[in-house]
Amino acid sequence: MTSAETAISLQQVTKSYWESGLEQTILDNVTLNIRQGELIVLLGRSGSGKSTLLNLLSGIDQPNSGRVNIMGTELTTLPENERTLFRRKHIGFVFQAYNLIPTLTVLENLLLPLELLHRITDTDVDKALNLLDKLDLKPRQDSYPDRLSGGEQQRIAIARSLIHEPAIVLADEPTGNLDLETGKQVLALLDTLVRQTGKTMIMATHSQEVMGLADSVFTIRNKTLVSVEKPS
């Protein structure tokens, strides 16, 4: 894999936390390379370290050792503020608990990532409204998140993660809070939107059903990343 094709590169990354006076290692010597446009699925039990890995990839958290390189940028060497600016531009997030801003309306939630990059224009508003239209949520543009169902909130969260056209989308258990049917719809939507736009996506989940959509599947076992063969 050439460096130009590599979107994400983790080299010998170790992450541990101190808990009750003891050091708990979550990830130990993890190495991973992901090409641009790939959809990677991370499997693993709750507490196995999937969310920690996503936090390291987004620069939200820093490893104890090792290197994290995203789109040619060495995140581990960047100070906090620059990591934030990098994340703002290149990363889109989808969380299990949707994590929409409760004090902003649906439309405002969508516009927020854009506003962090530049002053909102009419084009931005049109873009957000089109996206809402695609998601059949245009009539809810002025609603506050807690008035929407879980599926609706997660669709908005997906739209928010993509609206500023990041190169990488990180999804942490995006269907974890949804029922089976809604979960399927959300996954299909995520797959379509990400694939259409050629984004690289890493999705942490404990749902086996997602594996069919993935280009590669990994699992975290014994604090390290292990490749899993996709079911045929």
Partner: protein, 849 residues
């Protein structure tokens, strides 16, 4: 209730130590201020009572005279003719010591053997070795006793000589013993007191044949109303028999208005504290919706939920009240000094003694702290019982419920405001009702605050949204979204700031009024003060001589004079100012109503003026008669006019010297006003006048008197200033705590913002903008409320308390200061949470559910 339900609730509280600490702090501070004021006031007044007991012992009654004192023949007559046994004649006078010119001393002349019967604290404190000391006072001339405390302070020892200085000259006296007093109040009572025998005191002060008062301790056997009546009847017109208890009660009544006002300030702090308790308890209940919902699902009844919350509140109340009492005791020691200074300035002289606290005061504080907490927790506890058994209640539903409550609160606020205004109008002369009116108004406006905040935030959101986009909308939205908490924090801050503005406007209006009054009253260029004893031998003649000499000094054009004395009225002694006025001095009187054209001629011949406080306290009007006891019997004097006077709150009467001398003996002057020729250099004139003065007599320019008076004015309000800052401090702690708690609750939301790319700086700006907006709302709203509070304070409370009328002076600086105070308090309160949140890793924030 099962212990597990309690444990579920208790564990929740323990997991939120910040909120727990905040609730305790609210109760602690509120109770601390209330008890501190109570302790400081009681200790001050007790020091006065104890000081009296130190020199009057078990005396039950006292015979007093006017400024002329008592003729010592009265003592002999009572002792011999009436056969009264426990009588003690006393001569008390203020003197100066040449060695310590800056301090005033009290020369106490007593008859040591007569006084023994009353068991005064200083006599009972004498040790066996000192038993002869009292007798030596009688047998050895020019000897005196002082307390060990005074000796230590002045670095004196036994056998040292002191030079007593009076306007009659100087006299050497020797210290023959030191009195050791174990009781701190008695120790303070004997501070700066020089005890000598009565004859020496009469010689030093020139009051030969005179007494200040006679103390009388009635035996239980002889305590009959008929005996008291016969003593009373035997006394001359100028003397009066009073019960010591009545005397002490009169002193307390004198300070009643002051005490009520101070206690009201304490209650204001408690009110602000109650808002904090309410805020915190609401917060704790809101945060536990899920827990309470789950408990209800499991079968916990509404009553059990209510009991659980009230029990928690009770524990918090007891702990908070306990710490509040301890803090209050510490605070009281600082306040005691300020309260004593004010009592000294306005009412009577007290020594800043030690503090003491009674079981009754502690009981009151516990009752107040517990009741205030339970009252504050009642609404959230009732709200909690209404919760449906469910675990899926969402915050917005709760907030929409709260919006319904806000609508009710806004409607109620109007009721409270109108009730407050009605109370102010219809409560006539009651100070307590006047203050209750302020509390009602403040409470009414506080209830209105969340509703007003919602309206203002709507406008702010529109503006900031246009200016700063979606991020700009967030601060006002955060205020609105959490209105159940932000609204109360804003209300608490608004109450404290509006009370601050109100008091500041009142004090500045008062200061301006007093300043204007002083400038008009001080018509003379220089004033000579003649503080000596009024019935000293030849005092009147010497004062008259001095006046003649002053008139002869080149550059002096005219003189005026005043004698401050006490005249016996129908129901006790009345302070009277006896004036000898020239044309210019007459301009120094500010009448409340335009006077009649010939008022000054009538004043010289037959009528009196009364001051505004005197008129208010005695319900007197011009045209009515004032009955005074004269040597020729009771005499009626027509009240000609009421004039403004801010020198004391009891008020006094004014009469011309010509009229006074017709009925009372000449006691000389207390002060002489000197009017200089326009081109005279006062700096040259002053030393010339000074050269004619003796002892404690002094001359001061009108400017110096003005400045000294304004300084006293400042001292008078020092305690008020301190207390209003305390209330503001409590509000600040409240806002700070509420904001900290809010931000902690929002940790995850702020973490999301950080995750999607909001920088720590942007987050800090957002949080401080939110708190700044809260401060701004509180500040802006507190301006009109502060205005109303000031209006009620000036035209209702202070007029009822002291009888003074004041002009309302709008001090724009006070308004800006209030606005700034609210803004800075809120911004400061936002800084720490914003720094903390900005530093918190988004990963940790996102983990924090």
């Amino acid at each position: 209730m099962t212990s597990l339900v309690n444990r579920a609730s208790r564990n929740f509280l323990l997991k939120h130590p910040w909120q727990l600490a905040l609730a305790l702090l609210g109760i602690t501070l509120g109770v601390a201020v209330v008890i501190a004021i109570d302790i400081a006031l009681e200790s001050s007044l007790q020091s006065f009572t104890q000081a009296g007991r130190a020199i009057s012992g078990k005396a039950t009654h006292r015979i007093i005279g006017g400024d002329g004192g008592l003729d010592e023949r009265i003592y002999r007559q009572l002792k011999i003719d009436q056969g009264l046994r426990t009588l003690s004649p006393v001569l008390q006078s203020t003197v100066f010591l040449k060695q310590f010119p800056e301090s005033r001393f009290t020369l106490l002349g007593i008859d040591p053997f007569a006084e023994q019967g009353l068991q005064t604290s200083w006599q009972t404190a004498l040790t066996e070795d000192q038993s002869t000391l009292a007798g030596r006072l009688l047998t050895e001339p020019d000897t005196l006793l002082i307390s060990e405390h005074t000796a230590q302070k002045l670095e004196l020892k036994v056998d040292d000589w002191l030079t007593i200085s009076t306007d009659r000259g100087e006299r050497e006296m020797q210290v023959i013993g030191l009195i050791t007093l174990s009781n701190s109040l008695s120790r303070h009572a004997l501070d700066n007191m020089l005890i000598t025998d009565i004859a020496s005191a009469q010689e030093v002060t020139g009051l030969s044949g005179k007494l200040s008062f006679i103390d009388w301790g009635i035996d239980e056997n002889e305590h009959t109303p008929s005996l008291i009546k016969s003593i009373r009847d035997s006394l001359p017109n100028t003397a009066e028999l009073i019960a010591m208890e009545t005397h002490n009660q009169a002193m307390r009544q004198m300070t009643e208005a002051f005490s009520i006002n101070l206690n009201a300030l304490g209650l204001l702090s408690l009110l602000v504290g109650m808002f904090l308790i309410y805020n915190t308890m609401t917060f704790l209940v809101i945060q536990r919706w899920r827990l309470i919902g789950s408990l209800r699902l499991l079968g916990v009844s509404r009553k059990q939920v209510f009991t659980m919350i009230v029990q928690e509140a009770l524990i918090l109340a007891l702990v908070g009240t306990g710490t509040g009492i301890l803090l209050g005791i510490v605070l009281a020691q600082g306040l005691l000094h300020l309260v004593s200074a004010t009592v000294n300035s306005i009412f009577f002289r007290i020594e800043g003694g030690d503090w003491f606290v009674s079981y009754w005061q502690i009981g009151k504080a516990i009752g107040l702290g517990v009741c205030a907490t339970l009252l504050a927790v009642l609404p959230p506890a009732l709200e909690a019982t209404r919760l449906a058994p469910s675990t899926v209640i969402i915050r917005s539903q709760l907030e929409s419920g709260i919006r319904h409550i806000i609508k009710i609160a806004t409607s109620l606020s109007v009721v409270f405001i109108f009730l407050g205004l009605g109370l102010a109008y219809f409560s006539e002369t009651s100070i307590r009702l006047g203050l209750a009116c302020i509390f009602m108004l403040l409470f009414g406006f506080a209830l209105m605050t969340p509703g007003i905040t919602l309206v203002i935030m709507k406008g702010v959101e529109w503006l900031t949204g246009r200016l700063f986009g979606v991020l700009g909308k967030l601060p006002p939205r955060l205020v609105t979204a959490e209105i159940s908490r932000t609204g109360i924090a804003i209300a608490a801050l608004m109450i404290a700031v509006s009370a601050t503005i109100g008091m500041d406007l009142m004090i500045s209006s008062f200061r301006q009024t007093v300043s204007d009054w002083l400038k008009i009253s001080l018509q003379a260029d220089l004033y000579v003060s003649l503080p000596g004893e009024k019935l000293a031998d030849n005092k009147a003649a010497t004062d008259q001589q001095l006046k003649t000499s002053l008139a002869e000094i080149p550059g002096v054009t005219k003189l005026s004079s005043v004698l401050h004395t006490r005249i016996r009225g129908i129901d006790g002694m009345i302070d009277a100012s006896v004036f000898e006025l020239n044309d210019q001095a007459r301009h120094g009187f500010l009448f409340t109503h335009p006077p009649q054209a010939n008022i000054w001629q009538t004043f010289e011949q037959q009528g009196v003026f009364i001051t505004e406080p005197y008129a208010y306290h005695h319900r007197l009007k011009p045209g009515q008669d004032l009955l005074l006891q004269t040597a020729q019997g009771q005499q009626a004097f027509k009240i000609l006019a009421i004039y403004k006077d801010y020198s004391g709150d009891r008020g006094h009467i004014a009469m011309s010297r010509k009229l006074y001398l017709r009925y009372w003996p000449d006691l000389g002057f207390t002060g002489i006003g000197i009017y200089a020729q326009p081109d005279t250099d006062l700096n040259t004139l002053e030393p010339q006048i000074s050269g004619l003065l003796k002892g404690a007599q002094s001359v001061r320019s009108n400017r110096a008197i003005y400045e000294a008076s304004m300084q006293v004015f400042g001292q008078t309000f020092a305690v008020t200033e301190a207390l209003r800052w305390l209330a503001a401090g409590i509000a600040f702690v409240g806002v700070f705590g509420a904001l900290m708690a809010l931000q902690y609750e929002r940790t995850r939301q702020l973490g999301i913002l950080r995750a999607i790319g909001v920088t720590p700086r942007q987050l800090s700006i957002m949080i401080t903008s939110e708190t700044g907006l809260m401060g701004l709302v509180a500040g802006v709203f507190s301006i009109p409320v502060g205005f109303i509070v000031a209006y009620v304070l000036i035209f209702v409370v202070y007029q009822r308390s002291f009888g003074w009328t004041m002009d309302f002076h709008v001090n724009t600086a006070s308004l800006f200061q209030g606005l700034l105070l609210a803004l800075i308090a809120a911004l400061l309160a936002g800084i720490l949470p914003s720094l903390k949140m900005a530093k918190t890793s988004p990963a940790i924030a996102l983990r924090n559910e």
